[in-house]
């Protein structure tokens, strides 16, 4: 594996410039949709749901919505977004003919994907706070967690992008990996409501430790166990980040 250099920032800047030119077409996905889900599920379904500890349902799902949509942002950016840039627009080919390397491009894409997570997570946090769904000041750390989460999901997405033959392959990624996590990582239901086997699977899904961490920050319930969740996120991030550097070089430098 070859390391990336500070030049990755040039790729990040390129993506930022494009994003702020086209942000209005992105806004419905990362602002409107999570708010609709939060309110519809929270107030609509919430009227029928009684949680064991008496917490309001909308307060239970708010942290999970932050975590899930931060995940979606990085995942879309580094699957469809990156694949279009790589295969259709040949943007990567143009960039690696300059002093930037394949590794700089991959790092720039991943950190941009993570920035999308940071933006999405922060926007939903602000709105949830406005609805008085965020009791603890520890929630101020959520943007940092969203960014870390973003690096992890962008890295996993980038690894997948570097090995798929066509853009249609992302259907598998979302149907079999991302969407199940949305439902089985403790976003909408406590993990304990699932059968034993699903609970076990939930704990290996990368979204679960993130939901766990963000929920604790929202409620101000800090405990040592959270370090385990953080460690899991960091381990997965380093692993997938490194792998994506290797597989992307294999794909592009032929």
């Amino acid at each position: 594996m070859k390391p990336f250099s500070w030049r990755f920032i040039k790729v990040w800047q390129r993506n930022r410039d494009v994003f702020f030119r086209l942000w209005h077409s992105e806004a419905p996905g990362f602002v409107a949709e999570p708010i609709i889900i939060l309110l519809a599920m929270g107030f609509g379904l919430g009227a029928y749901v009684g949680l064991v500890d008496g917490q309001e349902y909308i307060k239970f799902i708010a942290p999970g919505i932050i975590a899930s949509y931060a995940m979606f942002s990085a995942s879309f950016e580094c699957t469809y977004g990156s694949f279009v840039r790589m295969e259709y627009q040949k943007t990567y080919d143009a960039i690696i003919a300059t002093p930037l390397s394949v590794e700089d491009v991959v790092a720039g894409e991943i950190f941009w994907g993570a920035t999308r997570s940071l933006m999405t997570g922060t926007i939903i946090l602000v709105i949830a706070t406005a609805f008085q769904l965020v009791p603890s000041p520890w929630a101020a750390l959520i943007p940092v967690v969203s960014f870390l989460e973003g690096v992890m999901f962008a890295s996993i997405a980038m690894l997948f992008t570097s090995i798929v033959p066509t853009i249609y392959s992302f259907n598998y990624y979302f149907t079999l990996f991302i969407t199940p996590m949305f439902f089985f990582s403790g976003v909408f239901f406590p993990l304990t409501s699932f059968p034993e086997i699903v609970q076990t699977l939930s704990w290996v899904a990368p979204l679960t430790p993130v939901v766990h961490l963000i929920r604790a920050l929202v409620n101000g319930e800090l405990q040592l166990g959270l370090l385990g969740a953080l460690a899991l996120i960091l381990i997965l991030t380093v692993l997938f980040f490194s792998l994506s550097l290797i597989t992307m070089r294999r794909r592009l430098a032929v």
Binding site: R14, Q89, K90, I95, A97, T98
Partner: protein, 303 residues
């Protein structure tokens, strides 16, 4: 000193030997042409030289530096004009150049100055705020050339720079490339356009099946393989075999070219008199690089 030097440069793909032990030396300040039919290995060779594709075997030195160790430094002084359009469609014309300048770490003010300069050079200033999709094919090609100059490269690597251009734009590009050469910019030009190679290149290498078959100035190659004049003989099919026999007995150097026969290396017109009955069947023209190309790479389709 050779500004580009390769030794035993080889590129293998799964079951294909794309570049087969190429030894090449390009001198500083020259325009060096790479000619060859489709699939000859030109683009594979170029991709290794611009450090985006690792060689399977062999070495490359750019300005005397081993490319494996100094790829970043070398890429900083290279201008690359690719065959396929890889302009950034998410950005405007000017933003394309500014963004590209940033990849080379050129400060913003300087990047703007250079962007306007290269836009002016290729007569694109009034398109600077247009989107890429609003440009014609010819404008995109000119913008690719402009982009390739944004870092004021020492070496310009061009893959089919005038493909798809109308004659006006083609001459504009040729003129600019000659100007750059007179300013000392070394050029490695990959082309299928023999006229382009003759006009622009100091030396050309003819590539076929991954190997360089021959190398020299266009004039040298023409006199070596063709001679200064080519006689084209047109015969009907009944007399064709007879004529060919007669030419063989006279020891002439000729090729069959469709319904014509080309005769090369004619020192005196007398060598071809009497080969055909009517004077219309015999035509004399100067030898050109295309003749050399056909003689070396054959007339059948390669792929």
């Amino acid at each position: 000193m050779s500004i580009i030097k390769t030794k035993n440069l080889t590129k293998k793909f799964k079951d294909l030997l794309a570049v087969d032990g190429v030894n090449l030396e390009v001198e500083e300040g020259e325009c060096f042409g790479l000619l060859g039919p489709n699939g000859a290995g030109k683009t594979s060779l170029i991709r290794m030289i611009i450090a985006v594709s690792p060689p399977t075997e062999g070495d490359i030195w750019m300005l005397g530096n081993d490319l494996r160790t100094y790829s970043r430094q070398v890429k900083a002084i290279l201008g690359v004009v690719p065959q396929l359009d890889n302009l950034d469609p998410d950005l405007t014309v000017l933003q394309n150049l500014m963004t590209f300048a940033r990849y080379f770490n050129i400060p913003k003010g300087e990047a703007y100055r250079r962007s306007m300069e290269v836009l002016h050079l290729f007569e694109l200033e009034n398109k600077r705020n247009n989107h890429i999709r609003e440009l014609s094919g010819g404008m995109k090609r000119r913008l690719l050339l402009a982009r390739g100059l944004i870092n004021m490269p020492k070496i310009l690597v061009l893959d089919e720079p005038t493909i798809g251009l109308d004659p006006q734009a083609k001459y504009l590009v040729w003129h600019k490339l000659s100007e750059l050469k007179s300013q000392g910019v070394t050029q490695l030009l990959c082309t299928q356009n023999m006229e382009e190679a003759t006009v622009l290149c100091d030396r050309v290498a003819i590539m076929h099946q991954g190997k360089i078959l021959s190398l020299g100035s266009p004039q040298e190659l023409i006199s070596r393989y063709v001679g200064s004049e080519v006689w084209e003989i047109e015969v009907n099919s009944e007399e064709r075999d007879k004529t060919i026999k007669e030419m063989e007995s006279r020891g002439l150097d000729f090729d069959k070219a469709g319904d014509k026969i080309h005769v090369f290396h004619i020192e005196a017109g007398g060598q071809v008199t009497g080969l055909v009955d009517s004077p219309e069947g015999l035509r004399r023209r100067p030898g050109i690089l295309e003749d050399v190309f056909f003689r070396l790479t054959g007339r059948s389709l390669i792929e």
